[in-house]
Amino acid sequence: MSKKENFLKGFFKENPIFVFLLGMCPALAVTAVFETALGMGLLVIFVLTMSNIVVSMLRNVIPNDVRTPAYIVIIATFVTIVGMVSKAFTYDLYLALGVFIPLIVVNCLILGRAESFASKNKVLDSAIDGFGMGLGFTFALVVIGVFREFLSTGGIIWGEFLPFFVDQPVTLFSLDMIINLFNSDFVIADYALNMFSLAPGAFIALGIILALIQGKSARRIKKEIEIQKQRIVELKKVALAKKAAAAKLVKEAA
């Protein structure tokens, strides 16, 4: 596997959330708003990359009996560090993520990557794998977050939890902007589907997104099967024609 493939696999082919269904707790709990989803993803990228690097460095030192406790200590150290840093610099994000920051420790994605990749591969490869997988995880979280925030408020807002680049929260996109071209005093938030920011909406939104992905791959597989069937039919036809020709030849010879 080349380094580029190793990096890109986390996005689509081996996406932790959409394909492997790993790390579902944060995927449901912190995706009501796009920004908290992004923040969670960034924290996971850091923890995953660092723990992969350290596990890979120590892979020949750690005895087999205490593999799991040792990995957990390494991961928990980085989780505690990102918890402190986020509390110091992005306090709103820290409050919004709450208990899910320490819970990064038990995200099966991180321990799984340590077990299945970092403990068997070189440091650089492990770092690339961790970074790519983390980006894939973040990508999935952001997709869910945008989907849910758009349905529940009718727009996307930046700057409330991650106070970077802007002083005041800025509306990046809102349906108001389009509708107000025709009708001046319309507030989309009054008509939005609030359910999608609540607990049931989390399950249903993720279900819809997974169904979209599964439907697409189901259609692709169906198409492939159909193409294969057609090829078999054509091959049969050719074979039959050959047989007929051969029979004819035999007949003529006789």
């Binding site: 269904l21 790993l22 790390g23 579902m24 707790c25 995927a27 449901l28 709990a29 799991t68 406790p69 957990i72 200590v73 928990a76 150290t77 989780v79 505690t80 918890g83 402190m84 208990v99 320490p102 819970l103 420790v105 038990v106 995200n107 099966c108 321990l111 799984g112 609540l198 607990a199 049931p200 909406g201 989390a202 399950f203 249903i204 993720l206 279900g207 819809i208 997974l210 169904a211 979209l212 599964q214 439907g215 189901a218 169906k222």
Partner: protein
Amino acid sequence: MTWTVFAVAIFNAMLINNVILKQFLGICPFLGVSKKSSSAVGMGAAVTFVMVIASFVTYAIYSYVLVPYGIEYISTIAFILVIASLVQLVEMILKKFSKPLYKSLGIYLPLITTNCAILGVAEGNISNIYTNYGSSGMWLAVFTALGTALGFTLIIFAFSSVREKLESSNVPDAWKGVPISLVVAGIMSIAFLGLQGIL
């Protein structure tokens, strides 16, 4: 503290703030180990067992080691280390001494280390119970853990029963498997939303 406090703690943790449908903890085993109701019950029993034991242990560590030395900030790492080791030890003991118990309970134990419900309850107890109730908080924490675990067992069992029925029903290709299960979970969550405001 009277018994009503404990009863309310159990009821609240089990039904109103349900660990799966409301707090989104333990989703991985909830989706994974719910294809058969027998394994769902096994998972629920293992979670109940570990969660109650872990709440005793984490209480002891928090109030006898971390607070006296003023190092509450390493609570996450200390908790998970102790819980993981404890689980491994219990698994080994079960495997050695009781094969039937291991078959029904022990095989689910390794999954606990990646089940965020256990650590989530331990962390939640710090902010909600230990800081407010001090030394009398231990029993409240234990009963909260018990209620949480019972809520987990209830939901994972109900969910696995629905999924067993779903297996034999005609679902469109796109929704087969996890997507339709997530929608089922969403509908269960709506039902549990109705319990809010009872207490």
